[in-house]
Amino acid sequence: MISSLILRTATRYLFPIILLFALFALFRGHNEPGGGFVGGLLAASAFILYIFAFGIKRAKASLGVQPISLIGIGLSCAAGSALIAPLVTGQPFMTALWGETDIPSIGKLSTPLLFDIGVMFVVIGVILLIIFTLAEEDEKLNFLNQSD
């Protein structure tokens, strides 16, 4: 995959900014528009941009784990958020717990936040699984066309 120097240079700067914005959307989500799902889509879009600029191989390397493992991690976060209440306070499964202090731009720490983080991971995992699969097929086709 050949991409322009402008795109590659811009991606180097945009990639962390989009990821940060994804985190911002995630933390903002509880009371205002945003949340884990939107955050996940944003973070996945950062990786899609990376694929356009540097190709699928480097994008995979920069992710570091398999997308399916991300789904697993996300679901574990969700399951963990449900388990905190029975293990710590002895309240029923899935009871929401809220911290006392208000942290600037994050809000109160809570089990729903952990659940939202889980949603974010699952969304990143699902989108990247689809995108990686499609991009790999595409690359195979390109390779075939070039060898003709």
Binding site: Q66, G72, A79, F93, M94, T95
Partner: protein, 502 residues
């Protein structure tokens, strides 16, 4: 907390499988260990329910009828226990039976997600939540059915998916309508409100009961909604067929028993439904067993048998006395064990010969006595020969039917029994007793000792379980009678769930 653990264990196991994607050693280990832990937890749940009565968990601390409630009464606990037991056995069998290329695409995680769905369906006390668990179960089963992606599997899966999606749509629509009439989806709350709504709008409530019967009937494979089952169950690997045959249709039966005993348990509604259930039960038994008799594929024959056995279970529900429901619960456990043992044997036969075709099999009685016995015992247990489990199961339902005066259906049941025996003898004669036809004489494949052990252990354990069920029929009947009493005495369930808020 104990109520949610049987759902969490397979869930966590599945998640380990997802995180360790591509590492089939960890996945295999997690699958077996997780399933074993599941058995322990299920037994603890059963003992707790036996000791302390119905266990209720208000998920998220939202009390009934507003939040989702998980409820474990004796019937649920029994079903959860047998699910966990089968889960462990098939997980061990699958270590050998499932090929490497299915493991890499996540077989073990899917399998655990299937168990999550099944266990959740047994434990939920909320009708909409039941729909969600059904979907988890069905989505995993759709993928498991088509994992190998061969032509026959896709063909079977198309029928399976279409019928089950249709049933889900009907189920969801009926939940919506029932919510429109009563304003609740909590089962215990529904039980109260349906009986009062039935006074004014009886025909509407009866129509809803019928819609639920169709939705669950499709999943349970009752006549005339069973065609998807024999079309698809013989296509995937044996381990998958076994767990499908053991659990999926039984979830449909469980849901039918649950809605009829809890929600539609008023005489005016049930008297109407009874005729239809009896008719469906009789036809399911007869058509299923005739279908089985005509088959020459080992697993196809057994698939038709699943349908026929569902008929007995529906018969037990339709007679609708404590005794008949106790018989039904006993029969449920018996048929799960016996049918699974037969499926597992068919898998070993396939490994040895490379075919499921009865016409091409033969001679196992002479060259593999142990395997023959492993087939013979569950087979005659299924046919209902004393002193094995099937005899007591059929005896209980038939006795209850005679006491209730349902002579026709009992006659049909006995008539079908003869053909069940006949079809079992058919497999026995073709695959085991006679000499293998000369045209198909071929040396048997050898199974490496390490693999053979993993195939034999679950088969032998389940075979032994059918014998033990016959020997300990007394105590087990006490348990299933207690479960049936809880089912028929809906007040216990309702006070356990709604208790403080009423």
């Amino acid at each position: 907390m104990i109520v949610v653990l049987p759902i969490l264990t397979p869930l966590i196991t599945a998640l380990i499988g997802l995180i360790a994607w591509g590492n089939s050693r960890i996945q295999r280990l997690a699958s077996v260990v997780g399933s074993a832990v599941g058995v322990v937890i299920a037994v603890i749940l059963l003992l707790t329910v036996q000791e302390n009565g119905i266990q209720v968990l208000y998920v998220g601390n939202w009390v009934a009828p507003f939040g989702i409630t998980l409820v474990a009464d004796l019937f649920s606990a029994i079903m959860v226990t047998i699910t966990a037991f089968m889960g462990l056995m098939v997980a061990i069998y699958a270590l050998v039976d499932i090929d490497k290329d299915l493991e890499v695409v996540g077989y073990h995680s899917l399998y655990q997600f299937l168990l999550v769905g099944v266990t959740g369906s047994f434990l939920t006390g909320d009708l909409f939540n039941l729909f969600v668990w059904f979907e988890i179960m069905l989505l995993s089963s759709f993928v498991m059915l088509t994992l190998m992606g061969k032509r026959a599997q896709i063909e079977g899966a198309v029928k399976y998916v279409i019928m089950n999606m249709l049933s889900s749509v009907i189920f969801l629509a009926s939940i919506g309508l029932l919510y429109g009439v009563t304003g609740t989806v909590n089962m215990a709350d529904l039980a109260n409100r349906v009986s009062s709504a039935a006074d004014q709008r009886l025909s509407l409530i009866i129509s809803l009961a019928m819609l639920f019967t169709v939705a669950f009937g499709m999943k349970a494979a009752i006549f005339p909604l069973f065609s998807w089952l024999p079309a698809s169950y013989h296509t995937p690997p044996t381990a998958i067929t076994t767990i499908f045959g053991a659990l999926l249709t039984k979830v449909g039966v469980y849901a039918l028993i649950r809605v009829y005993t809890l929600i539609f348990n008023t005489p005016e509604i049930f008297n109407y439904a009874q005729i239809i259930l009896l008719l469906a039960a009789g036809l399911t038994m007869v058509i299923g067993v005739f279908g089985a008799v005509a088959q020459y594929g080992f697993r196809r024959l057994l698939s038709f048998h699943i349908v026929s056995q569902i008929g007995y279970l529906i018969m037990g529900l339709a007679i609708f006395t404590v005794a008949s429901l106790a018989g039904t619960i006993f029969y449920l456990v018996h048929v799960i064990l016996a049918k699974s043992a037969l499926f597992l044997v068919s898998g070993i036969v396939y490994r040895l010969t490379g075919t499921y075709d009865l016409k091409k099999l033969g001679g196992f009685y002479h060259n593999n006595m142990a395997l023959s016995m492993l087939f013979f015992i569950p087979a005659i247990a299924l046919a209902g020969i004393p002193p094995l489990s099937g005899f007591w199961a059929k005896f209980a339902i038939i006795k209850a039917g005679l006491e209730a005066g349902n002579y026709w259906i009992i006659g049909t049941g006995l008539f079908v029994s003869v053909f069940t025996l006949y079809s079992m003898i058919k497999i026995w004669t073709y695959a085991f007793m006679r000499k293998r036809p000369d045209a198909y004489q071929a040396p048997l494949n050898t199974i490496p000792a390490s693999e053979a052990r993993l195939l034999w252990i679950p088969t032998v354990v389940i075979g032994l379980a059918t014998i033990l069920m016959g020997i300990f029929a007394g105590p087990l009947f006490e348990l299933s009678t207690a479960a049936a009493e809880q089912l028929m005495n809906t007040e216990m369930y309702i006070t356990a769930v709604l208790g403080g808020t009423q």
